[in-house]
Symmetry: C2
Subunit: 666 residues, 2 copies
């Protein structure tokens, strides 16, 4: 059945009107993209997208990602017009104002129907790759009856120019994600002006080189759009649909120019656009017939969803399916058995190896875990027996060879986590958190359960030298809101940290793990720790024997150093606690009593607090207070064996003890 163009045009104009009026009211925002892509979006929502505004969380809905997030009024318009509870017209009136869910850029935590937060360019599309991976994986596990949907993306030139685009489309092409369709707003305009200013790329050729199908359409011809979208949907490859559009379409004097990209049109031009579009309704009012047509589009999915609900209720795997999507963990008691075994038979291993051991247990117990590495599988120790390769030939696999695509990996993991039904984890070197940092930030902002397995976490990696040695990374990640950074000290803490990371339903975790072997520091359960000593972020690993004058606070590989320092101090009659602090953020969340017990606020004169971490000292003053002592590394590292570097940079009891003695003798 072909579409009747007349009502579609007015449906699209409703998007245009809401977009230009909301941007004008806010006196800020981006009218150009929603007006330019209104026609394409109208065809997508009315003819292709599987969704039900009454059940935004329907597991088998199509995912729609507005990668060009600055055009947020496009999705706010669509959600409102098709009958989602939010945004209301008042929400839209308050576009970009405090308290409105219609934020400057779409936020997944503010509105149902916004599948992910977009705005940082390139990442929406890269997350969509993860969503499409999740769909294929869950389809392989639960079958067509429960999982059979597409991922649609609207992306602009910015999304395509960003480096992460290359990583994302390379991965999608390699994995043959045929259910991923990207509608490219080919308007030849960026903020600075014509795309000619900065690019000469043949974009379709590049996508084809990456294994994509390319379709084309006039983005203002409904019939042509429908044909192109149908071709995209039919292709077994991921598809790019090049939609030739005019930015700000409908604004007669400004369309096609970069002046409509990111500024209000102004009252005069809006009046001219109303005339041009034949749109008589006042701002924030939608004529009844147009609204009715849109609501009908919104209602169309209800039947499909009802049928799907029936499939689910009779499905043999329905309980497991629901558990997965709810995000509740299965029984992980096996991990505690494993920890009990360690307490009986201590092991000296690198924490990256300890992570592999814990993962061995967890990936057996938790089938929704999907792992991977950015081409460092053997170094990150991320692959287990249970996680066979996820490939174009076997989507049931649970291990992704992401290639040398750290940022693409992190963004894909965000997409998988947001899709639901999967807990993604992936590895690279700790220093390359810099490469994935924009995606880590979106994990945190979007409240996504993603676990970053970051190995080689200090100068302890040795010979690879300063380009590979994290210095500022731990602290710079701890500064990020809603992100847990965990740096376990041994094989036991590593298992505990893994358990904690999986328990965080609404925040990501970075696990910082050593390359080098570490002795097991914990050989017995810690009192009052509720079965997981790391859960409170920090705990007293060793209590002072002599009169307590020093508290040593350390993380990861430096806990061993702290224990040696403490022993040396005790020999001198100086009592010293050792506090292992695998996660500063969790410690900060503890009640005052617990914090006071561990780090008593009795003033620096009485008890000297010393932090020891093989990274920048910056920020450690939070825990060591005035006149504390911060042992760390405030310069770049060097290339040499780890042992030589720890000695060179003063991470040894011999070097630290005299500093403490000098300080407490003052």
């Amino acid at each position: 059945m072909s579409l009747n163009p007349a009502p579609l045009a007015q449906m699209a104009n409703a998007i245009r009107a809401l977009s230009m009026d909301a941007v004008q009211a806010a006196n800020s925002g981006h009218p150009g993209m929603p007006m330019g892509m209104a026609d394409v979006a109208t065809v997508l929502y009315s003819k292709f997208l599987k969704f039900d505004p009454k059940a935004p969380d329907w597991a088998d809905r199509d995912r729609f990602v507005l990668s060009a997030g600055h055009g947020s009024m496009l999705i706010y318009s669509l959600l409102h017009l098709t009958g989602y509870e939010h945004p209301t017209m008042d929400d839209i009136r308050n576009f970009r104002q405090l308290g409105s869910p219609c934020a400057g850029h779409p936020e997944n935590f503010l509105l149902d129907g916004v599948e992910c937060t977009t705005g940082p360019l390139g990442q929406g599309l890269a997350m969509a790759v993860g969503m499409a991976m999740a769909e294929r994986h869950l389809n392989a596990e639960f079958g067509d009856d429960l999982v059979d949907h597409r991922t649609w993306v609207i992306a602009g030139d910015g999304c395509l120019m960003e480096g992460v685009n290359h990583e994302a489309i390379g991965l999608a092409g390699h994995l043959k994600l045929g259910r991923l369709n990207v509608l490219w707003d080919d308007n030849r305009i960026t903020i600075d002006g014509s795309t000619d200013l900065s690019t000469s790329e043949d974009i379709p050729a590049r996508f084809q080189a990456a294994g994509w199908h390319v379709a084309y359409c006039d983005g203002h011809d409904f019939v042509d759009i429908e044909k192109a979208l149908a071709a995209a949907a039919a292709s077994e490859k991921p598809s790019l649909v090049a939609c030739r559009t005019v930015i700000g379409k409908g604004a007669p004097n400004k369309e096609g120019s970069h002046s409509v990209h990111g500024s209000p049109l102004g009252d005069e031009e809006i009046a001219a656009a109303r005339k041009e579009l034949g749109w008589d309704a006042p701002p924030f009012e939608i004529p009844d017939d147009v609204l009715a047509a849109w609501l009908k589009v919104g209602d169309a999915g209800a039947g499909t969803r009802a049928a799907w609900n029936e499939s689910l209720s009779g499905h043999p795997k329905s309980t497991e399916f629901i558990r997965r999507y709810t995000g509740d963990l299965p029984d992980t008691g096996a991990l505690h058995d494993y920890i009990d075994g360690l307490l009986k038979e201590p092991q000296k291993v690198a924490t990256r190896k300890a992570s592999e051991m814990a993962l061995g247990v967890l990936t057996e117990a938790v089938p929704e875990m999907v792992g991977g590495s950015a081409d460092l599988t053997g170094s990150n120790n991320t692959k287990t027996r249970a996680t066979t390769p996820f490939t174009a030939e076997d989507y049931a696999g649970r291990y992704v060879y992401y290639g040398i695509r750290e940022f693409g990996m992190a963004a894909a993991m965000n997409g998988m986590a947001l899709h639901g039904g999967i807990i993604p984890y992936g590895g690279t070197f700790m220093v390359f958190t810099d490469y994935c940092r924009p995606a880590i930030r979106l994990s945190a902002l979007q409240q996504a359960r993603v676990v970053y397995v970051m190995t080689h976490d200090s100068i302890g990696l040795g010979e690879d030298g300063p380009t590979h040695q994290p210095v500022e990374h731990l602290q710079s990640l701890r500064a990020m809101p809603n992100l847990l950074v965990m740096r376990p000290a041994d094989v036991v803490e590593t298992a505990e940290c893994w358990e904690l990371a999986l328990r965080q339903k609404d925040r990501p975790t970075v696990l910082a793990l050593t390359r080098q072997g570490l002795p097991q520091m914990r050989t017995e359960n810690v009192e009052n720790a509720g079965g997981n000593a790391c859960a409170r972020g920090a705990y007293r690993l060793k209590a002072a024997e002599a009169d307590r004058r020093v508290i040593l606070i350390a993380t990861g590989s430096e806990v061993e150093v702290a224990m040696k320092v403490a022993q040396a101090l005790e020999k001198k009659g100086v009592g010293a606690d050792v506090v292992s602090m695998p996660c500063t953020e969790l410690f900060d969340e503890q009640d005052a009593d617990y914090r006071e017990d561990l780090l008593p606020d009795v003033g620096p004169e009485k008890i000297l607090r010393v932090s020891i971490e093989a990274g920048t000292t910056f920020g450690w003053e939070r825990y060591t207070m005035a006149n504390g002592l911060n042992i760390g590394l405030d310069r770049f590292g060097a290339s040499a064996p780890a042992k030589d570097l720890f000695e060179r940079f003063g991470f040894a009891a011999d070097a630290i003890v005299p500093k403490i003695m000098e300080k407490i003798s003052k």
Copy 2:
């Protein structure tokens, strides 16, 4: 003249022998790449590369970038064999040991002939793009006699898979950088195994789509290599030479497999390789005839350089040329005239606008400044009258439309700075320092004078919301070694900070600038500041009038807030200093007297220190000490007008004063 293959083969084997022996001795490193690319590198150095080991700083040398930095033994071998002073054979024997300039990855600050630090994949090639841009720009300015060289890159699959590659080659293709030639080590192996595991890309097609010329060769056939390199050199487009190679070539049982990528071959395989290669010399010894052949290659450039020296000495622009390459600034007195003007007629402008004003003066005075923006020219205020567009049609231009390529821009700026003769600056939003962070780190590590113009530096940007609002960015950048973060409070400080940034010959600067207008806080010269009050990182903007009980420390837009707080406190009889701290790192470098004068160490009971910055409080304890007060934002922001956000998040005197009063009344 065609090459005689026989000696070339043994010359290449010298690289193979040194590489496998050095990695074996270090018991760590990457033999596969140097052995695989030895033949290509031998042809490059002996037939194409313009260089003189006796004058590694020769301005008109070709630049060679080993983007696949893990193959560092390739360049160490080449530098040694061609007669550079370093590395000596002892340096090579000590590969990857403490003190050897032969670090795990090549470091530009350790060895002449290493043009840039590589190891973090993708960035070497992206820096090479900047070098090639610098060459064309300086050629346009100084002519063929002084500037006429090529940039050669060896890159592996990792460099090509990284996202930054897309940005870099897109920029290079658009700018038609025909003197850039990338030799791709097409060995079909990554760390995890075959490239088939993670990629299906048609790499030549992608480069062609980006406007590149592609040549092909058998990377082990000297004649074929020479032909391909000649074709690359002849093309007016940037060229990719796909060199089909066998990784670890020469190791008979391991070559062609990922096991030779990053591990020593082992004694047995090395013995087998010696046999295979017909290489009888013991480890770290080069047969006389082979060494002689290599040294002859090294000597070949001396004549060209002598002729060039003559050109320079007689050239009308020789003084200016030398000044540029030395990195000394010209007279910037005009900036002080400008500042004097501001002191007389204060202005309320956003610091991004203040930056534009300072840049207007500086880009006139300092012709080596080359600016740009990642598609935010109008927002970053980076373009001035003096900086006309740098395009394929006009390389004399000084303003680069980088496109939506933050990381590519940052890496290109590193390349320009390292090339010499240029001081690059470029802008994007502060939040997107995350996108360029890996390159910012390399600016710092490489000691490169790059100025990052990062605008929209807090929730003060308003409506764009949390994806665009930096929170943790200031502190996470301050944690990075050898990087200056400057956050000026007004139009005067902005000019001062620009001056300071330009003065840093061996470190990069991030300027954090507001979107919103700020009143001029400084209307007179600061005593004892040597003409630039920001030079000491912090200074007393206002001294307490009543008995001093509070010191307010603020940066950027919050200095205005601090002044209001101080006024309110004084009214209550509480004396309060206001310290403006535009650059914490410079303040940390001051002598104890100065620091003590500003922040007297008289204990928290006597004087309360309060930090005010619209970003994470994490790290501010360094300056506020125990029981200090840190006013900041420890969560993500929100979308709303700036005024509403500052109020909502408590950055107003009304909200801050009671907190201070409570604290000092305890």
